[in-house]
Symmetry: C2
Subunit: 207 residues, 2 copies
DNA sequence: TAGATTGTTAATCGATTAACAATC
DNA sequence: TAGATTGTTAATCGATTAACAATC
């Protein structure tokens, strides 16, 4: 059966938490403790972990390190994968800087831009190449994901370029709706959606 | 009854789409067309719009401009509200640059940072102030939302400062779990959650 | 042992989709 | 008028929570 999107999102949250536990040298964790700390029901936590193949021990719970490995493997974050970012503006540069710590398996190897002032520069140790050379570098580095952080007007053109270079997954940070064939995976992160939730709560609390 | 978070998120998506229609001078739109373009079921679209008070006309649908106004009002995006960003790194600078076009009602009036190299500079026409002066500017500008874009280790400290300056809503872009009293509204945007969905799909399609 | 935690099944809850009469 | 679209109610679907026996 298809795993739920919501489970996948929660797995990322567990990981964030487990890394902190690991850093603090904590060996085991239990679902009821996660419920307290992250506000996710303990039964839900167990079901989510089970999806990744994890089996706990009664009274003890789960081993932190084994759980991290299991979740990372399940998400495909256990092996290095090259990623490209299209659009070397502030958002692109910001994502280029996310370290293994927060995005394991997320190795940005190149930024691309069409602005000659930016092309050739280096941000967070990642070089900015000319968008015209995307295909050349794609052949060389074989990236699995292309991340689009351009203005929305450029997004479709960038998606087309990525697909032409045989990239199968796109992480879209623009508001544009991308037109792609069914075999291409697109995940759109719309920041204004999150703001909508916050804003609405705020206006209603003030009444 | 409480409106669903999912409805609020979708309302932001409709807005993105409606702005484009408005720019193209289109007067009316219908739910079945939205379904085609955004992949959201037409019954769902009508229910969501109805939440904001919109009533359509059979055979015609809804007026684009009226719908935009209704959704913006519902989300509290119809009136100017000052916002502060804590953390003037790339992500903070990026958000500072979001225009009214994508984030109406989202007026960033100040960035704050503790890095003396950055304090005093201006990004996207927004000045960076010293975090020590947060309270002074909060009294002056009365911001409704504080946006945290610092490293996760600093996030709780920033949240405490925001609350001390009487800010009631926090948009948290870090992986840290913030400890706040119930009357404070927190919305956490976890970028790695979206990546998790994409990554998992990618690993499974390759099998 | 006693009791905390596990995994699983059943019950509940909420969200999405289907069906359909009303309407412009 | 005919037919596209509306709003609403009912049916379905899926996700969350409750209950509980098993276990370490």
């Amino acid at each position: 059966m298809e795993v739920s999107k919501l489970t996948l999102r929660r797995l990322a949250l567990y990981l964030n938490h487990l890394w902190v536990l690991k850093e603090n040298g904590i060996e085991n964790f239990a679902a009821p403790a996660i419920e307290k700390q992250l506000g996710i029901h303990h039964t839900q936590v167990r079901k989510d972990l089970k999806q990744t193949g994890l089996i706990g021990k009664a009274k003890i719970g789960h081993n932190v390190i084994m759980a991290i490995e299991s979740i990372e493997k399940y998400l495909g974050w256990d092996k290095k994968q090259n990623r490209f970012i299209i659009g070397a503006g502030n958002l692109g540069r910001s994502l280029a800087g996310y370290s293994y710590r927060h995005f394991p398996g997320m190795d940005i190897v190149a930024l691309f831009d069409n602005n000659p002032v930016i092309v050739g520069r280096i941000f967070q140790e990642i070089p900015v190449f000319d968008i015209k050379d995307l295909d050349y570098f794609a052949q060389k580095l074989n990236p699995s994901i292309g991340i689009i952080t351009t203005p929305p007007e450029e997004a479709q053109k960038c998606a087309d370029l990525l697909m032409a270079s045989n990239i199968k997954a796109i992480w879209n940070f623009t508001t544009a709706k991308l037109n792609v064939p069914k075999n291409i995976i697109v995940e759109t992160t719309c920041l204004s959606s999150s703001l909508a939730v916050l804003s609405h709560k705020l206006t209603n609390i003030e009444i």
